[in-house]
């Protein structure tokens, strides 16, 4: 009885919201304030901000829906079965599994934490962490679209990213033996996953609800990223950005720094990189495209909450040096 009352009330509220939006369709023009109220640069900022967001939203939405599917329909057991006992094979496998696994760099942190906690070796978790957001069908597709339907940048991003990830994973395998997770009271709680017992409609609903929660979880980081990117575009002239980094090393470092600060989701960052297409060499753009998904501001904060401080610092330095070194070595070929 009570639950059906809840049901009707929810529907009522839903209809009120829909009615409100119908009003919006007819009266949205009246909501626009006069153009004289805002400064020119604020208006420019707003246009850039919304256009970045509109371009990124479809990819982020597809990302959270797929992530919801994985959350509910794929168990860690199934993924863990793919990782072989041999360390060398495990390094390669973890990077390849990551490559098939579509995830955002923010969405993958809790997944890796769960995998490592369940007994997956730390280095395999890192391989997964690095390639998951960087090499996956959605990212490759959006990179392909962003660079004018050109396969070159998408391929280079994939290949160089894989080389970097393999190297870092191997180094972590040598450096760290135990799992480096922060110890919390939850570490001792074990939970049995019994997905099979739930009927399909319940699992579908759980999947969509996870997608909604993940959208709100990541949406705020996406919007902060878009605001920062739009601020940079509005108030800093491209000439002065380029003056910061003279030469190949300088401009690659500047682009890597930008990727770190903007913390864009890997599904959308290619569109930002493409906007620098006519100003910078491809190597610097690849610095942005490869470094950003592996490490950025919001992802570092999330890693700090999961792993020990010393491990996160080591990983940060390792990723920065490796990306830079591999790009500079590969530059003659790009």
């Amino acid at each position: 009885m009570r639950s059906s009352a809840n049901h009707y009330l929810s529907e009522l509220i839903g209809f009120i919201f829909l009615g409100f939006c119908m009003l919006l369709f007819f009266f949205h023009e009246g909501m626009k304030l006069s153009i004289t109220l805002f400064s020119d640069s604020l208006l420019t900022f707003n246009v850039v901000f919304i256009s970045i967001l509109l371009e990124a939203l479809p990819f982020v939405l597809i990302g959270v829906v797929i992530s919801g599917i994985i959350q509910v329909f794929v168990s860690e057991e199934q993924i863990r079965k793919f990782i072989p006992r041999n360390k060398f094979l495990a390094i390669i496998m973890s990077c390849l599994v990551g490559a098939l696994f579509p995830a955002c760099e923010c969405g993958i942190v809790p997944i890796v934490r769960r995998l490592v906690g369940k007994g997956m070796p730390l280095f395999a978790g890192v391989g997964f962490l690095l390639t998951g957001p960087l090499i996956n069908p959605i990212v490759i597709f959006s990179t392909y679209m962003a660079f004018g339907e050109d396969t070159k940048m998408a391929l280079l991003r994939m290949i160089i990213g894989l080389i970097v990830a393999l190297f870092i994973t191997a180094t972590i395998c040598i450096l760290f033996k135990n799992n480096q997770l922060k110890i919390t009271k939850d570490s001792f709680r074990s939970e049995v996953q019994e997905n099979e017992k739930q009927p399909l409609p319940t699992r579908l609903k759980a999947m969509i609800e996870h997608a909604i929660d993940e959208f709100f979880d990541m949406g705020k980081f996406l919007i902060i990223g878009a605001i920062l990117a739009a601020l940079v575009q509005t108030f800093i002239s491209t000439k002065s950005i380029l003056d910061l980094g003279e030469g190949l090393l300088g401009s690659t470092l500047v682009m890597m720094g930008l990727a770190y600060l903007l913390s864009l989701c890997s599904e959308a960052d290619a569109f930002i990189a493409a906007s620098f297409d006519h100003l910078l060499p491809n190597t610097s753009l690849l610095g942005f495209l490869i470094y950003g998904p592996m490490l950025d501001l919001k992802n570092t904060i999330m890693l700090m909450s999961v792993f020990k401080f010393r491990f996160v610092i080591t990983l940060t330095i390792l990723i920065t040096v490796t990306v830079l070194a591999v790009l500079l070595l590969a530059h003659p070929l790009i």
Partner: protein
């Protein structure tokens, strides 16, 4: 039977995103933001938002204890935020509302002189690459030379600006008709006005301006940021061991900002 305020706000936000994108498409304002080729993606996004809204609505009155299937959450608990409206949730909801607020109340500006200066204007192609597409270029050049004058309008601009800035010497003395806005580029040596247009590859965030220096702009009264249609002769100017195409204006008229201010290439 309590109203879950946070769930209700989330439902409303999802619906507002769906409507915001829908309204942009309905009014055609979407062309101020993204390239027409990519419209389908944002339409799909709008539909996904609507579907998510319908799944979110039943959660508005669901009792908290039934809320999450914790069975799907990890051994370290889960990321579902706590209920109610803490300062943290208010903050993250506030951040997500920013684009909806600014999108609905702020008018959309069309990029003009200020943005062109900030982003830099391209006058010539720096890398002269004489590669395999030479034959293609030759074909375009021949067909252009056959015309009495070159029209750089909506379509012509994206097709021909590249080839003119790449091989300006071929087109010297040719008459050109073009629409664009007027900028005074401070980075140029002499005080000269420039006629420019924005080209957009994907979204306005990647807009880049290209155009021509107007060599005899002092003889005319050209207002900054105003749109003009002009006819003139293409000439060459040598600067730093490189030829830059410039235009000698014959005549011009002021026009309104066109309906399609950006060139989508």
């Amino acid at each position: 039977m309590t109203l879950q305020k946070r769930q209700a706000i989330k439902a409303l936000i999802l619906l507002l995103f769906a409507s915001f994108i829908f309204i942009l498409h309905k009014t055609g304002d979407i062309s101020y933001f993204i390239h027409p080729n990519y419209l389908h993606f944002s339409q799909i996004a709008s539909v996904i938002f609507l579907i998510l809204f319908f799944f979110q609505v039943p959660r508005i009155f669901r009792p908290t204890e039934d809320e999450y299937d914790h069975i799907y959450c990890g051994p370290w608990g889960c990321y579902h935020e706590e209920d109610g409206l803490s300062i943290k949730t208010m903050l993250s909801i506030g951040i997500i509302m920013i684009p909806l607020l600014s999108g609905f109340i702020m008018p959309y500006k069309i990029f003009g002189a200020d943005e062109a200066l900030k982003r830099g204007i391209q006058y010539s192609d720096l890398d002269h690459k004489l590669t395999s597409d030479d034959e293609l270029a030759l074909g375009v050049i021949k067909s252009l030379m056959r015309q009495p004058f070159i029209r750089l309008d909506d379509k012509g601009f994206s097709d021909y600006i590249g080839i003119i800035s790449e091989y300006p010497e071929v087109f010297e003395g040719k008459e050109i008709e073009m629409e664009g806005f007027i900028v005074e580029d401070q980075y140029l040596a002499k005080k000269q006005k420039v006629i420019a247009r924005f080209q957009v590859t994907h979204c306005i965030a990647d807009a880049h301006a290209s155009g021509f220096i107007l060599e005899n702009s002092n003889e005319f009264h050209l207002k900054d940021n105003s749109w003009i249609r002009m006819k003139g002769i293409l000439k060459l100017r040598k600067e730093k061991q490189q030829y830059i195409p410039v235009i000698y204006i014959n005549n011009f008229e002021e026009i309104d900002t066109p309906k399609r201010p950006y060139i989508f290439s």
